[in-house]
Amino acid sequence: MAHMTPTPVLEPAQDRTMILNMGPQHPSTHGVLRVILEIDGETIVRLMPDIGYLHTGIEKTCEAKFYQQVVPLTDRIDYLCPMTNNLCYVLAVEKLLGLEIPPKAQWLRVLLNELTRINSHLVWLGTHALDIGAMTVFLYCFREREEILKIFEMVSGQRMMTSYFRVGGIALEPPLGFFDRVRDFAGYFPEKVDEYENLLTGNPIWMMRTKGVARMTAEDAVALGATGPTLRGSGVDIDLRRDMPYSSYEKFQFKVPISQEGDVFARYMCRVQELRESIGIVRQALDGMPEGPIKADAPGIVLPDREKMKTQMESLIYHFKIITEGFAVPAGEVYQAVESPRGEMGYYIVSDGTAKPYRVHMRSACFANLQTLAKMCEGKLLADVVAAIGSIDIVLGEIDR
């Protein structure tokens, strides 16, 4: 098949238009995304995203690993929300196994997931503002993000690739001083959100670059498979945390921010308000944190405690077996979706009854959201493409997998 064109080429449809290539190496594409544009003067006639530059075959790799060994791979598909991916994967495997997770582990998972959401939204806000030309916000956002990364390092030993969740619970009891540090952060963070909003929300330049730009109707957003703030910015009221709760989310009170306008500003407002809601959930999780174990009582699946392993023969045998042979999962299939910072993150896992998954498919939110870009930009001005890409909040690692 060597005669085939090596990369997709768009041919100009009319004499007056020209083809412009944006990326794959472009600072505003948030990764290696190539966008091919057909333009008529300053107006976009057609737009086609070209992806796949970061494809590493993670879904194929998963088929060769034990169930537990897949967890570190899930971190790496989306480096901005590792905990969300960990959670979605372990929930899917636990559903396959029929495991009951103790309340404390569930609440810790919620707490860490909301910190992850804040982390991800901060990176989005900083880089989105940077794309549009507001440099200061970037530095402010990364200041607070640093504190979240330190909290992650404290609890898991890693700043970004945390791999902290386990099938059946979480890896370790959080260290001493962890809750105080999170409480401290939850105390001062709302003021910081005011700071970002002071810089952007009422700023005339920001409003001119975002209001009425890259509009999308609710019908288009649903038809194109958009989820998360990209969908809620167009006025569709769905949030999986509230509507199809998982990991005890039904026990938390929070609002789901919606905007009706469907433009870049609407999506911005949705995410900024989500920052405030998330910190509220973190506070509730701190205040109501239940006592008890952090791992399910399932000896053949969950690794035994270190102490037990040193004193009890049984635990040592289980430990050895889980590490060397993994654990068998009853045959079947599940689809588990969670609300990631970018939308519906779903894992579809098929088990054939062995210790390795037969098929793992990741339904990536950005992959579907990226399809809305053409709808947002066609017929609009070239300069707004950068604002539109930023407002979808894409992570190319998750799109290409």
Partner: protein, 165 residues
Amino acid sequence: MPLASAITDLEQLKGHPAVARLVGWNPSAVEGAKFDREEMTIYVERGSIREACAVLREDSACPFDFLSDVTCVDWYPREPRFEVVYHLLSIPKKERVRLKVRLNSSNPVVESLTSLWPGANFFEREVFDLFGVRFSGHPYLRRIMMPEDWEGHPLRKDYPVEGYR
């Protein structure tokens, strides 16, 4: 919490809105159904997947108006070899349903859903690229992850995972 065994009897499953709707529309289009781990799977006859989705989407009681995901599973060397898997979501009713189409390895073609949901575009291109399943009526069926001149379909089970190319 022990797992309940899967229910595969179509008569018992008619309480589910999607099963009831599809059986009421065209009983020969439904090849079977399975309720396992709180999830509903419906096997749809290969030629009627697009119409079945259109019926579910337009259902007034429980409209499955959102296409969450399209993917595929390769059961090599078993025949029918491919299972194309669709996950639909009802935004008003917060219900999910999984539709499956079985395809033989000799001619793995199924109708595209892009006319119903333009968002199926990327998902179907991905399945085409990684499994070699073709979607008739797709506007732009080309590789999406792998380079255009790549040979083979990496997520097939008979694709070599080691050695040199």
